[in-house]
């Protein structure tokens, strides 16, 4: 294990622990609210407490504009950010990986043809969040369905838009391994296509699948964030008219960034605390992915001539 991998595993491990047992340690309930109060202290001086309350001993990370404790919100929203992104990534890699291996093994094209740009790569040019935004915008604002149901719907959409790119990556890798001699040997011994995929191709690509999975987690989290900027929050959006305000129903971290975004001039903590939590989650997964690459990269390394 290298340092990068250990650091990444520690960071993501802590985050997953927070998502699992965090709500038990939340200092307040989700619906506890700071009301506007006039307090007179022992010196006889009076002052007004009004939300948003800045970070203090009583509210470690402060409260948002409506007086809800930010730490409580983060602890409760963690499970949506972390488990949903992991779940989506896992499903993408399982389904996309299977499709990719089947396509790669049975396709008639040869692996030599790659390198030149296929016209189909134009499809890479369409921003994914735009497609998801168009699908979700009609149903995501003030929905009847619960936050959990809305998360599942979003997850299904993100799964569908994510599978093709995973399948293409896996297909390209499969086509390279397909040309190896042990595959030919196995074919001439009479192994079926399914048998070869299971016991020759898959073991060769285990490491790639693991790295692909971690990278898909990062991509999913990125999409959560981009969608949140455009008011599509995981678990649905509560919109209040006059003045228009958007609130995350699940307190998912990207959603908290999206709803607190306009606070970076004045009540900065409402903006940067969710941002810091979200960024450290992504950095954690990034370190894991880098660490894995380093660990597996050493296996077949060649040396630079210069």
């Amino acid at each position: 294990m290298n340092k990068t991998l250990i650091a990444g595993l520690l960071l993501t491990g802590v985050m997953i622990l927070v998502a699992l047992i965090g709500p038990l340690f939340a200092p307040y309930e989700l619906d506890d609210q700071v009301k506007i109060e006039y307090i007179v202290d022992e010196n006889g001086e009076g002052y007004v407490i009004a939300p948003p309350v800045a970070p203090s001993a009583k509210y470690p990370l402060g409260t948002d504009q409506n007086g809800y404790d930010l730490l409580t919100k983060l602890l409760n929203g963690a499970k949506y950010s972390i488990f949903l992104s992991i779940g989506i990534a896992l499903a993408r890699v399982l389904i996309g990986g299977l499709i990719g291996m089947l396509l790669g093994y049975f396709s008639k094209e040869s692996a030599q043809a790659k390198g030149g740009s296929s016209i189909w790569s134009v499809l890479n040019g369409i921003p994914i969040f735009l497609i998801v935004w168009l699908i979700m915008i009609g149903i995501s604002i003030n929905p009847h369905a619960s936050a959990f149901e809305m998360s599942i719907i979003l997850a299904a959409v993100l799964l569908i838009v994510g599978v093709p790119s995973v399948a293409t990556t896996v297909k390209a890798k499969t086509m390279v391994i397909r040309e190896k001699q042990f595959v030919t040997a196995s074919q001439s011994l009479g192994a079926s296509g399914w048998k070869i995929i299971r016991s020759h191709l898959f073991p060769q690509m285990k490491e790639s699948f693991l790295i692909l999975f971690v990278q898909e987690v990062i991509l999913t989290l990125t999409l959560f964030g981009q969608l949140a900027l455009f008011h599509i929050f995981v678990g649905g959006t509560t919109m209040y008219p006059d003045p228009t305000e958007y609130h995350s129903r699940s307190n998912e971290w990207a959603g908290l960034i999206g709803s607190g975004r306009m606070n970076f001039y004045v009540n900065t903590w409402i903006f940067y605390i969710p941002l810091a939590a979200y960024a450290s989650l992504i950095i954690g997964f990034h370190l894991v992915s880098k660490g894995l690459e380093k660990r597996y990269g050493k296996m077949f390394a060649k040396y630079s001539h210069l």
Partner: protein, 295 residues
């Protein structure tokens, strides 16, 4: 399939794709009263055909911004130019910085710089933009010096520098990592060892032996790069409140009269044209670069 045939197939496919996806908010929506999901096939089909029947009388090129009705053609000019300016700057500067910094990274240790590039690369584009804005606000609060405008609040003081920096950083970062990787792979090839054994200079080998073999990979990856630039354009224009095509789409997609299919489709088609122009510009830039280093 020959390339021309593929092109005649894929361009209409993408246009159809735009028409179909833009109709999604009409097709799939919540009932305003009960809040449950609804699929309105009829309304969706009506919106879809309504666009084509409206082309003739110009109805498809009119939209509401607030209560006033405007013509799409009057608005698109300056909005398109604004977006075009950012996309072409991001394309050329991003590719140039990416190639030369990528080469430098591949042949030198550059430890801490690699660390920074890696760190920025690990963050999503919008986090980079938000951190840039936040940094400027922080500096302004500590020192009273406002380095750049953080967002366009009125048309007299548009934010120019910061969006430009944000537009360039992200594709450049992607390009640096990509070029550095391809370059270090190329430098492991036997013909590089051969060139070295012939006593050729280090710079000569890098630029005349290795770079020509890296350029095809860059060309093959251009659509991915354009995807990053265009996705970034949405984020940057939105976060800086700059008047470009994506803001035209997002601010006018929903007006007091409901969802405006026409403006979304027109905006996305303009976006597609911009994509084509941006792609052509980077290809021309790479062609010029190839003329210098290919013999």
């Amino acid at each position: 399939m020959p390339k021309a045939a593929q092109l005649t197939f894929i361009v209409p496919a993408i246009i159809l794709f735009i028409f179909l996806f833009a109709v999604m908010p009409v097709l799939l929506h919540t009932d305003p009263v009960s809040g449950s999901f609804q699929l309105s096939w009829k309304a969706a089909a009506g919106t879809f055909t309504g666009y084509f029947s409206g082309i003739e009388n110009g109805e498809s090129f009119r939209f509401y911004a607030g209560e006033n009705e405007y013509s799409f053609w009057e608005w698109i000019g300056p909005f398109f130019l604004n977006s075009f300016y950012y996309v072409s700057a991001a394309g050329i500067a991003g590719t140039a910085i990416g190639i030369f910094a990528g080469i430098y990274f591949a042949v030198s240790k550059a430890g801490w710089m690699k660390g920074i590039v890696d760190f920025i690369g690990s963050l999503p584009d919008f986090v980079v933009v938000l951190l840039l804005q936040f940094g400027i606000v922080l500096i302004a609060r500590e020192t009273g010096v406002v380095l750049f405008e953080v967002a366009t609040l009125n048309s007299d003081e548009p934010a120019v520098m910061l969006p430009l920096i944000a537009m360039i950083i992200i594709p450049a970062n992607y390009m640096i990592r990509n070029v550095a990787m391809q370059m270090s792979l190329t430098l492991k090839e036997d013909y590089i060892g051969n060139a070295k054994a012939r006593g050729l200079g280090r710079m000569y080998i890098i630029f005349f032996h290795a770079l020509p073999n890296v350029l095809p990979y860059i060309k093959g990856d251009l659509h991915k790069l354009m995807g990053i630039i265009m996705g970034n354009l949405f984020i940057v224009e939105y976060l800086f409140n700059n008047n470009g095509i994506s803001m035209l789409i997002f601010t006018n997609a929903f007006s007091g009269h409901g969802y405006q299919y026409d403006i979304v489709v027109n905006g996305l088609l303009a976006f597609l044209v911009l994509y084509g122009i941006g792609y052509a510009i980077i290809r021309a830039f790479l062609f010029a670069l190839g003329k210098v280093f290919l013999r």
